[in-house]
Symmetry: C2
Subunit: 254 residues, 2 copies
């Protein structure tokens, strides 16, 4: 599908003074891509809608064909990121393994997410910039993410793969460390996102694991079904789709 030309990846669907066609949803997404980039670069309050528009070769009022307000754009950016996290959690929960296995899996995926724009938007944007409704949604979603980490830890303690500890604080410690990646990681740096993610996954779970990973020992304890490797097909996410009227065409977000 998608008979779009072998185009040299036109950053913006609006070419300076040219044919401007294309599906509405693609433009919507293009706006979000431009917005999330600018919001991260400049900060939400310093980045103006004029800036966003300029980056797309259009003018500010055109944006209002796709969004009702600046904070709605912010919310949608966050929302896309949240869908990605939900994917991580859903995949991880679906796959088998001990609590520790799941914790590690989620940690890797989450860490890698934090090196991407939409991932960063989860931790760099300020909920207080949203309207009340959206703020509630975001706060609920954040709780759910925290829950995932915490549940895996509890599960790990139960099945013996994780040493007894305070799940709440441990989850905070791990998630905090990961969230912070979103503050310092820059794509241009010496390390790839994946590399950081894997290193962090080891480092962060090492402290609470019953088994050590020193000197890359083969994954030691594995309860039932081994972790399946299907990360290609996005199995229809369940209720998780907490973010608003998200029916958008989740196409290439990378």
């Amino acid at each position: 599908m998608d008979a779009s030309a072998p185009s040299s990846s036109p950053q913006s669907p609006w070419l300076p003074f040219e044919s401007r066609r294309r599906a509405r949803d693609e433009k919507r997404e293009a706006v979000l891509r431009a917005a999330v980039g600018l919001f991260l670069e400049q900060g939400y309050h310093r980045a103006t809608l004029n800036d966003v528009a300029k980056r797309l070769n259009i003018t500010k009022p055109a944006l209002y064909n796709y969004f009702r307000s600046k904070d709605e754009i912010l919310f949608e950016c966050w929302s896309l990121g949240n869908e990605l996290v939900d994917d991580c959690i859903a995949e991880t929960s679906a796959g088998g393994g001990t609590g520790l296995d799941k914790l590690r899996k989620l940690t890797v995926r989450y860490a890698e997410l934090m090196t991407t724009d939409y991932g960063k938007s989860l931790v760099r944007f300020d909920v207080r910039d949203l309207n009340e409704d959206n703020r509630k949604i975001v706060q609920t979603a954040k709780k759910r993410i925290d829950r995932a980490f915490r549940d895996y830890i509890v599960q790990g303690i139960d099945d013996g793969s994780v040493r007894p500890c305070d799940p709440k604080l441990s989850a905070f410690a791990i998630a905090g460390s990961l969230n912070w990646i979103g503050h310092w990681f820059q794509p241009g740096g010496p390390m790839t996102g994946k590399a950081v993610a894997e290193e962090f996954a080891i480092r962060l779970t090492e402290g609470i694991a019953t088994t050590t990973t020193r000197k890359k020992a083969g994954k030691p304890p594995r309860t039932g079904n081994a972790a399946r490797e299907d990360r290609s097909e996005h199995h229809e996410r369940t209720a998780a789709r907490a973010a608003g009227q998200s029916k958008r065409a989740r196409s290439r977000l990378r």
Copy 2:
């Protein structure tokens, strides 16, 4: 000294319609206390100088007797927090112990700092809101903090108290987790700042220590002089005083 009355801690030195005397520096600090609180509650951009002034029972232009601009206030808030960190680092470096000892000591102190207003300002405020000069200062200071963590880790690897690892990433992992405390900790919550700090110190260093702390074993390895316990007298900080023309009367900041 400080023969101030046994006053019932007047939150603001400007009582509604009353005697308004007091040393200039105290007022300056009062402004900063009000500002840091508001900036944290509302976010720098949503908090207005009118808000700050109102909280002090004065009006906006009065603030300009003490500061030249809003972003200077922001900088000074950050600066006070930075002095506190510098104290932590100086104390820790002065005290003895293995690299791990120092890492733990710094971790505890830093974590606790993150539960205070001025500590939070170090990680919640956006450097991009500062003017170019101050931004440089902040960035330099941040590097120095990172360096402290990293140095202790390296030192620990050398003296055998810390397992071989990438100091850079490990420092990021630990500091990130601590910094995140500044985002979620709220004084009203179930845990005291000190409690969080101690728990985090254990949890975060456990992963890279050569010796385990499971079941609160007495501190195992200790090289030379045991960690001294003098945290009362602030030994004159050295060069560390990177923050601008800081000659302020660092009195009660808590």
